[in-house]
Symmetry: D3
Subunit: 338 residues, 6 copies
């Protein structure tokens, strides 16, 4: 049965140089609108749910364009507010091979979303309308106003019995000099509210400051994730391990920890067209599995395949339907379909 999910997050304008030229070589940009919340709400709509975005867009042509784009993605607009002056933006120059992609941000702290005053959103109304809510660590890094919104919404949803999903998504460049130390209390507050958390052992060690004497990635994961689940009383923790190979292909292996048990997905290896947003596709797969009551192994394989497919489409936002994800779970590369 389709569920209703609201993601709280900023809409960013993505301005991408086509091909592999640099900003100093080209004169053309392709633009779209994205953000973690956008990706989550859109992916879940594509899986058959009603995905809403809770955000604030400016009036005027840029806000209109963003709103139209959200609708095109199938995202419900009921909780999209208009007001403020600016839209966050980022410029993307595609890398090639050994040359990495580059992202350059404009001043997102002045955006409509990041300057939304108290009272902008109707938390009770939102909480009454949804089965689950999604939050992310990028938003948590913005400012006290936005963090206040996050807590208010998470508490309202929790009180109404909705599931709270939190993706740790720590971005070092956003937290300034004190970094993990500055972030820790904010993360802990969200983890206390969360039912489903996206993270891996690195988040436990760096953001939460937990320790283990294990040395391999997998051993650390197995040591720390149960400890996090215990400490914060989290029902489900899921995440991925990624490897990047010399030929630019990536490998992804998902895990889910639930009911005291780990389940792992197959290790998927694949060529990468657009890496941005693929983590959100994995998260959407986990949320879908939980909303639909999949057994953990099915959830994590679904999520990993959704994450893999998100690397193969243009733009930040996952485009695969549930059927396409299932087909990809056992897929081998095939001949053209006609």
């Amino acid at each position: 049965m389709p569920k209703r999910i609201a993601a709280f997050g900023e809409v960013m304008m993505r301005l991408q140089v086509p091909g592999v030229e640099l900003l100093s070589q080209s004169s053309v940009l392709n633009y779209s609108f994205s953000g973690t919340g956008v990706n989550i709400a859109s992916a879940l709509s594509r899986f058959g749910h009603a995905g809403y975005l809770v955000t604030r867009l400016p009036n005027g042509p840029l806000g209109d364009a963003a709103a139209a784009y959200l609708r095109k993605l199938g995202i419900g607009a009921d909780f999209v507010q208009r007001g403020g002056s600016y839209l966050g933006m980022y410029f993307l120059e595609n890398g090639f091979g050994v040359r990495p992609s580059r992202v350059t941000y404009t001043n997102r702290l002045e955006s409509s979303f990041n300057t939304a005053p108290e009272g902008t959103y109707d938390w009770e109304g939102i909480a009454a309308s949804v089965d689950a809510a999604h939050f992310c660590g990028i938003t948590l890094a913005m400012n006290d106003g936005v963090r206040g919104h996050m807590l208010a919404m998470a508490q309202a949803v929790k009180k109404r019995g909705g599931a709270v999903v939190f993706d740790c998504n720590y971005r070092p460049s956003l937290w300034g000099e004190r970094g993990y130390l500055a972030a820790r209390p904010h993360y802990e507050r969200m983890l206390e509210l969360a039912d489903i958390v996206l993270m891996n052992e690195k988040d436990a060690m760096l953001t939460l400051g937990m320790n283990t004497e294990k040395e391999t990635r997998e051993d650390r994961l197995k040591a720390l994730i149960p400890a996090v689940a215990d400490k914060f009383a989290i029902r489900v923790i899921a995440g991925t391990h990624r490897d990047i190979h010399a030929d630019n292909s990536h490998s992804l292996r998902g895990f889910i920890y639930k009911g005291g048990q780990f389940a792992f997905s197959r290790r998927l290896t694949f060529s990468v067209h657009d890496r941005i947003g693929a983590g959100d596709a994995f998260a959407s797969g986990i949320i879908h599995g939980e909303l639909e009551g999949f057994p953990p192994e099915r959830s994590v394989n679904f999520a990993a395949a959704a994450g893999m497919l998100a690397h193969t489409v243009a733009g930040d936002t996952p485009m695969a339907s549930e059927a396409e994800v299932f087909r990809a779970i056992d897929s081998r590369i095939g001949d053209v379909e006609r």
Copy 2:
């Protein structure tokens, strides 16, 4: 010495989303015109022959555009009729890595080609003008009218001493529920007329319903192809085995069966830009070899290299000259030529 070849087949408008976007993401299409007959006639023109297409195009801007495109490809227009209302079309969304390409057809059964009434074509005039004629299993799947045209043309050409080429090219989606059973009698009728046939062991097993206890692809081929050649008195049978690798490269190995002997090409492995139409390039290579009197081994290596090169160009239609194919037979990847 250049020969004259007429291919009978539909012209399709190919509408391709550029890059790797989906139809629901993009707003631009690149268009061209293709079809098995188009590919064969064009490829043979590029090898130095006079390639003609026997088809029917609508009047009006779409028909004009298709006709101009055929001329650009070097295809003789003497047997292109105008009439009817519509052009068959297909939309192509490029895949990437594990995500397959998607082809979506419009209603081709209403096309000018598929609604051509009896008397549209002058079979005697065509037969008197050509050394060989090419037909394909896709056309065979359309309707009784088109099948009638095929038989009439094949018979006329055969009577005049021209070579009849038939490419089995079975497409499951075109034959409906009864599938192979529905197709079999039509295939058998064409095989009885054919001098040169493109197929492999799968066609023998599935379309023709033949059996073998062999288990490998190659053993089955060696068991069944001679049986087909005997049963239908076919002078030359040729075809390929294709493997698709995890890194999206393909391998191709061609065979030719003639005079009771098999010859095989080198197994070629290569990156793929556009897979559609590559089978027609192989067929063109076999036809060219036969028309020029190449020894079988030379024919099959030429055909395999022609097929390989067709994967590296944009669009359905092979673009390589005879010299370029010969160069590719022993080619290794080289530095830029200047």
Copy 3:
């Protein structure tokens, strides 16, 4: 107060050659999705109402792309059905100066919309949800099945007290040899149900077969429109007179006939970028005026300005907000706004 309006109509894929090249010169198409119903529902959404489309789209990539495009335009998807196989399409080659634009249709009679079986739509549910419904003479020309849908929906809406809007929109090429005679009974049936009708004196004379001895366009209008309103008990009739000038600019003057009185808009003269869909913008303006209770003169000036602005945007579909239309009513061409 915002109202809810449902337009019944086909979604067409518009495939436009960019610039002024012909299909036989170019290799690129820009695509979008439109149709009279699309234009009406989108324009009314932009004026602040909830605009719905009642239509049927195929499954698969083309249907998905059309559905995404409708959402982007702000059209409510509640009554969009999926099923059938094909989407109607048209190719547009832009004219220049004395060279007219050319439109080439594909076989729209096989479209999902035009082959929708009885029972496809839930007329009672739709009628219960809307304040008004819009129909158009293009749809009326399709086939008996679609005409049956139209009547069923118009009757259901009327029974529930909703307003029925009918745009005569006679297209000669769609009605075959018997033309107006074939169309007349179908038009009369719709006019009997209609509360608001879009037409002018030519429709009265040609489609309805009415006569007048008047000689000028305006005199004929004043003679015939009241007669139509009387005969079919129509509350509001509105329409335009268009003049096309030697420098490719157009002039438009709107009229509205209501309560036994005519009101006329200013005669607007303007440069034209894209003429297709401008009539729908005028109709939307009239509907908006009626829904909002504008006095007739305000309605017709609003509608004419909306129609004028629709000539200045790319694509079939009007993009102006209510505020932009009001600003255009007294607009003179101004300097850049910044």
Copy 4:
């Protein structure tokens, strides 16, 4: 009845900056292939004749591209030779309003056409195959080798009874310092061979050095054209007077002088998209009229309308069919055709 016409002339690669940017602003070029002979042969093919080009193209990718483009335009390739090293090229920057378009040539004197050695073409074979031949003053300006080819072909065609058409087309920049004096003997030699000549009174005065005391353009025309016709025994002389207006529209009025009588076309005024090649469209109209035996007035109106339409299409080469030209003769600007 369709006729066969061979035009002798160089194929130029046209490299056009899209939009109105300058070469120092853009990074993109659209390319096509044109030339007076190309335009004439293509236009006459579109009018239903068999148009051939007599020219020489280099081997290699540029020559292949040019040859494919000629075929696309419907030009017969029987007399297209391959050899030499280079293709003539010109860069086109579109003007806007008061800013004129700019054309920059590459070194065309080294082109395959302009370096074709004696014996390149089979004049007897060509002359035996055609009803008429077209030559132009641009070609005459190249070098002695090309002028030798022109005379040889014109003489061969004349001897076989074919019609010789000569378009004076004087380009000051091509004749160097001595200008008209250098050109005169070459022009006179062509005029002695010509049956149909395209020119106006300016050519008579400047190139041929003839005098008149008349002062208006029309009086001079009426005085000088009959004198030219007499002196060189020319059957038909035709040409145009062009006016360029402040709003960038052009007016064109064609004349034809035949059998001692002048006939004039309507004066046509129209917006201009691409002015290059429009003179060739007028010439093609005159040739078509003569080949079809039109009365002079019909010929000149047809030619003027063909010339007008050529200003409204992209590229140098006329694209109108005979039916479209006839429709344009009495055309007013109309609404979109659908």
Copy 5:
């Protein structure tokens, strides 16, 4: 003799939707970099002088792209500082006919230029290197820091004997609620330093609060400009009167007031491709005239023609050479140049 001019001003990234689509319709932007100072420095470089820009750009890809673009325009980079975080941006949606163009700014107050701390620029070094300096009222509207830079640079240049040019360029949207009143003291301070001023009677009335009982534009000009020149001891005042016509063409008439005398240019009427930046082209023409010692009438005609040409090129920045401007002074629209 070429002179050295430094313009002080912000570099803005211009992000323009191609064609006439809206931001909510398109997915592509063309970008360039401009600003009043950019336009002035570039135009004067094209007239043969050494044009420098005094500005501050961020490090990173956007700053690199802006710097490369300035170099491409021929602007000297000696006084371009790097630092700060952001670049000012504006989005441009082209209007069509009655629909005006729309400009949407991002938050330019956070730009590298507008946050440059004291000590960023070496005023003495700059003043020692230049013959003239250019400032503009847009910059004056930013903040106290930037206004401080302006005054410091103007004073340094004046002390060294360089000419100070000030373009009033009042933009209502930048001055907030108190508008002209807030701006007046800042304007007066710049006028006291200025040798050459760009303005017209509206600036005198609105920004400076001066009065006249005259009623026509021209009478007011003649009454107020001498008064301004007297009050602030300004050597040269120049400006334009613009009219916008119903067919979207513009008329421009320039004036110059110098030595107690007015001189006026011809009234130029022309089609408009890109209006932004055309005022800077006029200013550049006046500066060029003054630097070269043109008589006033020659200066003002040169400036008006430069302004006119700037409307006919793509982008904000004038592209005409001195020779092209002189040619345009008496130009009529001509045929293509080849």
Copy 6:
């Protein structure tokens, strides 16, 4: 400390078919301007030096566009002359996989650069302004005039104490039938003047006619390079060995021979986007290392990484900064940077 380097060489217009289409398939070209000297001067500017180009460009739009492009690349224009008529050009069709890229040249011998008369350049002024000069074997292949310029400049720089860099860069297609024999004396003359030489063992064997009995590439290198250094008294010799793999990736290993010692870079393996100009990036790295006094091992690793990165950017010209090259020396492929 930044140094001043002047590269002597031709500017070519590069006209590239976008994507992987052939010239006979596409209608669009991307253009830029490059050449060995352009690449060297631009790369060294990006490393912090002042890079100048000594060349000659035509007047007119193509020369203006080339000059603007050089400025955009950061190349000093002080020694760029204007004159002559033409610009050298080449067309580039991208290969794919087994299909190689194709380069087609226009007639560059008529270019402004290759027809520059004696006295075009001020050798003394140039030599007085620079610390080093760069020359290349491609230029050496042009004609006696250009070779005379090369020698004059190299001698002037050497006399003033500047370093002379010579890149052997032998292109077989440029030297005609006598090939290496024709080239040898010209190469020897340049080697006698050179301080730093780019070459490998193949140049020694083929161009210089030296012999060795060694069989492997590396053994031959170690045998011949010291011999060349001795014979011509060359301070530094550097170069690369390249391998091209079946999956189209390349491997590059650089060497440097200085003070009687060889140093080798790591063997770098990487995907290739645009191979043209990568050799110039390596050369720029070696020059940078020498100008900065890097130890040989650091120089050769820097140069190899610079060469590797140049394969990953669009266009001929290296775009990496010194910091980016250093980062790439130990780089592994990483995740997106944000």
